[in-house]
Symmetry: C2
Subunit: 363 residues, 2 copies
């Protein structure tokens, strides 16, 4: 029997090629498939393992359920000088999000700031990818998505009502890598609670709740209850702030785009309205050159980043980091070594690959 | 001897009038003084006691130090269709912020989204006031300010490097009061640590650090060290998220506007560059009607707010709230009862009043 935990090191280009081959085999147009594959492989390369090729089996399930339209043609349904709203037609979330962030950047070059909303989309991978896209074009970028699966319990609440609703923010420095924040508005992902459960390790108070909404240190209880806390963890430590931010994301991604539905809401035919295709995204681009002249913004951001890198650490072994540092370090490492993928994940992907008759490209 | 802790209930209109009288006596033009007084009295009425009339003595100190220019004339130094940058000329922070948010709203009516940055300003009171200004005009509003006084210790750091850098976000519902989030990106304000110290009460781990950057439960140690944690509290509970948000605010308010300076940085004459007048603000307005037709946004926001108000609480005595609820409840109460001000604060304000020969209006 093969060792399911065995780790294989696969080059990022092979991962990208494999994802592209699967999407193309599903019927996604090749250009679109390439854009989506690039977004997912980028997450693997940066160490955001939960948002890379590991998502492909989930996307396959959604395709099977008719919630993912492989031949979708997203349309701009509304447009003003500095805003646009795109209906994604149930497409893969990544290509329409790249389209939306590019559009926001192009508009912002003229108007200084621009926002593009997307509705009727699917899971778009890691929010940070789209914020960094803007930074690569010299723009400040913000990307958010609401997550239809409920996980966050509001402060004082018993049940999970909001998704983990991430916020990503990126800004271009002149010398340093872009500042790149990508954070769920929950304390941790539900997957992290599961990992502790599997390893038989207690979780800190403030990560998860039991079915009555009470904080728990038992990872099995928290994972089965599917309830995590907003950033802040407990009321005493400020969980109302994380809850407020999760609501802000929900308002900007779902209410502003028309993608909002109550959990449990059903349509005329009794099907849940709040499904993956009800996913909405929010993309904002700001051109710093329209606020300050030439390179001043990037230079001052460099000074700020350098100041933090030079800041005295509490423990000399753990230097002060800036958002994006761990991901850039992982990217550099994986460029040399490839991406470590467990045998169990390769098996899952191979299953998807063989069912759609795509070529196997992962060795 | 008078009881310094005695509480006097003063009507909001009297507070507003008193602040206006002081600012006018200082030489602030009467229209500008009225706008600033309104912003401060609004905080008192909503229970944000740290950001109301209690700030007037601090503003007086800054005026004495030449850091507050009472006859300032803020100027728009840069403008595009959807962005503008204002130099506040060391003015009071509130009137220039009202001007900036109004400008953002007017621009957003044409372009859909607009942002106005402010530099060379002073403390602007509570960020939430400006976000709610936008919501009153049917706009989604965001307001942020960087706070030049260092208080937040970055994750893994020993020293405080960032201000408490608040984020405010408001969105207009159709029936409910606007959603109104106003949060520092620190776990708590330094003042809250001081209050625990004065009451001889331990603080929770995750609020503050000692001088070596280690978390402490001793409020005296934390307050004297002037070090609070970013939202999240500890690395384990996600303080890197709060730290990342504090950086985002610093980038948008200070780096984007040209107000950024390193702590300790001095100018050609050896004076600290990072002073209150280096304060920068960020205001964003989004017109939801440019994204969705008519009243749809407000109606869906109502459904979302109603869903949360109806959410099952973990403890039946503590219902689930929505950002803004506690402040609106306090406003309703104080409209009837007046604002409770301690004798000690009244004494401080009376001292300011008598030194500038303003009339005394607080009974």
């Amino acid at each position: 029997m093969p060792d399911l935990a065995a780790i294989h090191h696969i080059p990022g280009t092979a991962i990208r090629g494999q994802i592209e081959a699967v999407f193309t085999a599903w019927g996604v147009p090749s250009e679109t498939a390439a854009v989506a594959a690039e977004a997912l492989a980028d997450a693997d390369m940066h160490g955001v393992d939960s948002h890379g090729i590991g998502l492909v089996p989930m996307y396959d399930v959604r395709r099977g359920e008719g919630r993912l339209n492989v031949s979708a043609v997203p349309k701009v349904v509304r447009e003003k000088a500095a805003v646009a709203l795109i209906d994604a037609d149930k497409s893969l979330g990544h290509p329409v999000s790249v389209m939306a962030m590019r559009m926001a950047c192009e508009k912002a070059q003229h108007t200084g700031v621009a926002l593009v909303g997307v509705r009727n989309s699917n899971h778009f991978g890691a929010a940070g990818y789209y914020a960094r896209l803007a930074a690569k074009r010299g723009m400040i970028g913000m990307a958010m998505t609401h997550a239809p699966g409920s996980a966050i319990v509001p402060t004082f609440g018993r049940d999970a009502v909001l998704g983990t609703n991430p916020i990503a923010f990126s800004a271009p420095a002149k010398v340093n890598q872009p500042f790149a924040l990508d954070m769920a508005t929950s304390t941790v992902a539900l997957n992290k609670v599961r990992n502790y459960y599997r390893r038989g390790k207690q979780i800190p108070l403030g990560w998860a709740m039991d079915e009555s909404g009470q904080p728990t240190t038992d990872p099995g209880v928290g994972y089965k209850a599917r309830r995590v806390a907003p950033v802040g963890g407990t009321r005493e430590l400020g969980s109302h702030k994380g809850y407020g931010l999760a609501m802000m994301v929900e308002i900007l991604c779902a209410v502003l785009t028309g993608a909002w539905a109550e959990p449990g809401e059903v349509d005329a035919e009794g099907r849940p309205v709040k499904s993956s295709t009800q996913t909405g995204h929010f993309f904002l681009a700001i051109d710093p050159n329209r606020m300050r002249g030439g390179d001043e913004f990037g230079q001052d951001l460099d000074r700020m980043i350098n100041m933090l890198h030079a800041a005295e650490p509490a423990d000399p072994r753990l230097p002060v980091l800036v958002a994006g540092d761990p991901e850039y370090a992982t990217f550099a490492e994986r460029t040399k070594t490839g991406v470590p993928l467990p045998q169990s994940l390769l098996d899952e992907v191979r299953d998807v690959v063989s069912r759609c008759n795509a070529p196997w490209m992962l060795g």
